[in-house]
């Protein structure tokens, strides 16, 4: 607003001085202010006020690191977009609410939609929350771009043909990817055990892993399945049970702080000296998997973004560099879920604007999002016509050969979602059975 006054003052002198003043402000003013206001005024039908984007991020409990990562990805995107002038000239303003229990998160979702009146809500990690938010988004006709939070079964029941909800990748993708890698790297496995959190994500992953693995290694037998609640911090009894069952391979879909705790307690008794491991989603907390207690030779999944990718784009390299400088950590995959939803939103708004010649409605943006493909941190990502995220998944074998104090993966397998998620309209287990 200070720049506005300066502009008026300049006009009061002479027209030539106005042009000089504008030039000086554009150079001296910096990121926000005059250039953006000018650009906004230059676009017809676009309000000057900032566009409010709602963010739902886990802020406490076992999923806190993952929620924080997503939020940081969103904030980095926002800073860059705002520096470049915003969306169609409108500055982006993030309104952050906490994702906690399904009931509370639904209330905050409603608040963002009805009270704060955001244009889109990006967020949602926990499956239980996702199941609750979907129907609410449809009911309120509120554009919702989920980061994670949607697995096969529940979503089929609560969101059969979503109009306003854009779902994350079918979460069994990483379990299926883990099975593919298990069959490839450990084909001699005869018995497997599962250690998964006792809720839909854990259950679905264990089922999908077994179904997919059976396709490649039909004689594999499950000898044990354990179901610790999300948030359990003492796995000594579980480890004793696993040692007793003596599986050739232990599969786990742990994705948060319990991954690190489990590995620490497993290392204390040398669990992985006697069996292989497949950590389908452990990459969520990758830089806490220190070499001192994370052995080499485990399958480790990084979901949809691997920070150390040899094929990393300049965008990813810049992000990793800034993230490390600001937080002294290396970014996990949730950052890219958040980044992609926002980048796709921006591209959809711009596309819908071309057709509508004014700031698009949520319905128009929703239409534009279908099939939208953008350049995200991990590479190209898109939304399929049926509102499901498509991207690449990165999994590999843990190695200590790096300059960090935590493990990385080598070789890195890139698994596109076309390979590890079911095609539109099909059912998961039918699709797996139909593989050749």
């Amino acid at each position: 607003m200070g720049d506005d006054e300066k502009g008026k003052q300049a006009m009061q002198t002479t027209r030539r001085d106005l042009l000089k003043g504008v030039g000086a402000m554009a150079v001296g003013g910096g990121l926000l202010g005059m250039p953006a206001v000018l650009r906004a005024q230059a676009r017809t039908g676009v309000p000057a006020a900032p566009v409010k984007i709602g963010i739902l991020a886990i802020q406490s409990g076992v999923g806190a690191p993952v929620g924080a990562a997503g939020l940081r990805g969103a904030e980095w995107w926002t800073a860059r977009v705002n520096a470049a002038g915003g969306i169609l000239g409108r500055q982006v303003e993030l309104v952050v609410e906490e994702e906690s229990s399904p009931k509370e998160t639904v209330e905050r979702f409603r608040k963002l939609a009805l009270q704060t009146k955001v244009e889109v809500i990006s967020g949602g990690i926990s499956t239980a929350v996702g199941l609750a938010l979907g129907p609410v988004a449809e009911e309120l006709a509120m554009l919702w771009l989920s980061w994670d939070a949607t697995t096969q079964k529940g979503v089929e029941e609560t969101m059969p043909t979503p109009q306003w909800s854009f779902r994350s990748v079918d979460n069994e993708a990483e379990a299926i990817g883990g099975a593919i890698l298990t069959a490839k790297h450990f084909p001699e496995m005869k018995t497997i055990a599962g250690l998964n959190n006792d809720y839909s994500y854990g259950r679905d992953c264990w089922d999908a892993f077994q179904a997919a693995l059976k396709h490649f290694l039909p004689d594999v037998k499950p000898v044990l399945d354990l179901w610790p609640k999300l948030g359990v911090t003492d796995f000594t009894a579980h480890i004793a049970a696993i040692q007793q069952a003596k599986p050739d391979l232990l599969m786990t879909s742990f994705w948060s702080a319990d991954t690190t705790i489990f590995l620490k307690q497993a290392a204390a008794v040398g669990l992985f000296n006697t069996m292989k491991g497949c950590f389908t989603t452990g990459g969520g907390v990758h830089d806490s998997l220190k070499k001192s207690f994370t052995p080499e030779g485990l399958i480790l999944g990084y979901n949809s973004m691997y920070f150390h990718d040899a094929q990393a784009s300049p965008l990813l390299k810049a992000f990793v560099r800034d993230y490390r400088a600001k937080y002294n950590e290396y970014p996990p995959y949730e950052c890219d879920h958040a980044y992609f939803t926002l980048e796709a939103y921006k591209a959809a708004v711009e596309k819908a604007y071309q057709a509508a010649n004014e700031w698009p409605t949520q319905a128009q943006v929703a239409k534009a999002l279908e099939g939208m493909e953008v350049e995200s941190l991990s590479g190209t990502r898109s939304y399929r016509e049926d509102h499901i995220m498509m991207c690449n998944f990165f999994q590999g074998i843990t190695t200590h050969k790096n300059d960090f104090d935590f493990v990385t993966i080598d070789p890195v397998e890139v698994l596109p979602t076309t390979r590890i998620t079911k095609p539109p309209g099909s059912k998961l287990y039918d699709w797996i059975r139909s593989w050749t």
Binding site: A64, G231, T233, A241, Q265, A267, V269
Partner: protein
Amino acid sequence: MLTHAINILLSGIFHAAILFLVAAGLQLVFGVQRIFNLACGSFYALGAYTGVSAVNAFIRLGLPHELFLLALIGAGVCLALIGPLIEWLLRFVYERDEALQLLFTFALVLMFEDIIRLIWGPSPLSTGSLYLIYGQVTALGVTVPVYNLIVIAAGLVIALLMGAMLARTRFGRIIRATAENREMSAAMGVNLRAVYVKVFTLGTMLGTLGGALVIPATATMSEMGIELIVEAFAVVVIGGLGSMRGALVGALVVGILRAVAISTYPELEMVLMYLIVIGVLVLRPQGLFGEPAV
């Protein structure tokens, strides 16, 4: 088969050692002040978080990693200083209805949860790989981390010390007298106010020590206080309210049963523990070592 049984036993006893510390604090306070202090869970959580900070500071100061246990124990013991403060707050509910006491202490639990989040943030914290620094011991086909054995030993030592204190020292006699008959003890010249503060502080210290000692093996978690209260409740019901021996036996029962359930019928883990609680309440409501209601 034997190795598996020993594994289960050891993992159960490790968990029991921590539970005992917290339950012992609970029992002490209940025995003397007749207050069921739900905030014991918060002391446990505070001990854990402060333990992490203490250890990380210890390491940053360049002190030898092997001695990190001293930082932990120090943190647990020093935190007892909040005991008198909380005890002073609890004075408002001493003679009041039990429901009010429970509500009050539960309110404390919720407040502490937010205070912890304010100070330490929402993310889980840990002491990294220091847990593994003492190595492992392998015997009879069983591998157990030395740290776990240290914690079990610490629990045992504290149990013995508590027993000795209660049975042989003057302070212990005063505690037992006050627990048995408050009015008579006051009539005999016991300074009830002073006893309450000392007992509460001791109870607090046991809780914070429990939290500090367990943390290298795991990581701090926002709900850790509340989760522990659930288990401590079961321990105290099984063992009998107010009984130190009850705390020990109850902790062993809960700890070992949990380990057994996980190895045999994992789905029944929680169910089994509470089936025992219900069984005890029906068959012997005062618990294994509690006094029958008059």
